[in-house]
Symmetry: C2
Amino acid sequence: MPIAVLASGRGSNFLAIIEAIKRGECAANIEVFITDNPQAKAIDIAKANRIPAEIIDRKKIPDRVKFDLEIKKALDKYEVQLVVLAGYMRIIVSRELLDAYKYRIINIHPSLLPAFKGSTHAQHEAFDYGCRVSGLTIHFVTDDVDGGPVIYQEAVDLGSCKTGDEVAELIIRHEHKAYPKIVDSFAKGKYEMRGKRVVYIPRKP
Amino acid sequence: MPIAVLASGRGSNFLAIIEAIKRGECAANIEVFITDNPQAKAIDIAKANRIPAEIIDRKKIPDRVKFDLEIKKALDKYEVQLVVLAGYMRIIVSRELLDAYKYRIINIHPSLLPAFKGSTHAQHEAFDYGCRVSGLTIHFVTDDVDGGPVIYQEAVDLGSCKTGDEVAELIIRHEHKAYPKIVDSFAKGKYEMRGKRVVYIPRKP
C-alpha cells in the first residue's frame, strides 16, 4: 500500500512507522515524506531512509488553499492510497484536497477525543485538568479540526505521571505502537462509515 | 463515616453502595437518603434497608436556592461527612450549600470528563460520536456542572457495544464497582488539592 507521511517536527511517529515496516509489521510503502517546515528534523529521517522528501515551505505560500493544492500535487504525483499525518501542524483547509482524499487522510491526536479537541497541548491540558485517564485517537481528517470520524482510540492511565511532560512522553510511546498498527490495518481491510461511527471490515483471505 | 446519598431515579448506585457496605467493602454508614422526586424508585431501596428517606419535592419548592437550603438542612441534621450524588438530577445552585460541604459532595458521571461534560446522555453521545473508549469520572461537585476536580477516572472499552444502550449498561456496571470503592477511600484517607489536581493521602495506620 503506497502511503505518504506528513510531519512538521521531529517525526517520531514517522520513524515508528518506518521501523514497523522494516520489522514486517506494517504492510505499507512510504512513497513520499512531505513537510511544510524546511527545518523539520523529520527531513533527516526521510534522507537516512532514502524516502523522497518534498519540502513545501509554508512561509513561501501564505495562501492556505494554494498551499494545500501544492500538497495535493505532491500526493497525486506519488499516487498514494493513504495520507498519514504525524505531527503535521498545518490545518488542511482546501476542499479540493479533502475531497480528493476523503477517508484517506488520517491523523493521530494525543487525547481521547472529543476531550481536548483542537488543543495543541492536549497532554498538558489533560494533566492540568486533573485527568486520571487520557489516551490517543486516530481519526479521519475532515474540515472539522480533530472532529473527523474516530478510527481507533486507546486509553492511557496517567496514574504515575507527575507532570504534563510525563503525560506527553507516556502517550507518545503508545502512539508509536498504535499508529503503525492502524496504518497496517488499512492495507488489510477497509474502514466504512455507519452514521458517524467507523466500522472496520478485514479483507477476506 | 456518616454519609448521605442523593438520587432522583432508580438508585442503582445507591444500592451498589448499600451492598458494598453489607459486604464490609465500604466503611461508610448511610445516615440518610435524600431525593427531589417523590416517585423515585430509590425510595423503596431506602425503606427496604431501613435508611431514613427525606423527600424534598422539587415541584413544591420551585425556587432553586430555597430548595438547596432544604437539602442542606437535611444534611446538617444527619451530620454527614460526605454527600454522595448517585443519579441526582438537580444541579446544586446554592453557594451556601456548596460552601458548607466544599470538597465533601461527590458525583459520578458516565464519561471521561471533560468529554461529554454537562450531558445527561453521555453514554449515548459517546456511542454516536464513534468513541472506541469512554468511561466514568468521580469528581467533586462545584458550581461548574461536571467541571469539579477529578477524584477518579476509569476507562471502559466500547469495542463490543452495538448501541448506545449497551454502552450505558456497560458503564453503569463499572460505576457500581467504582463508586463504593471511592466512598470507602474517603473513610480511609483524604483528598487534597494541588492546583486543579486532586491527590489522595491515605491515613497512617
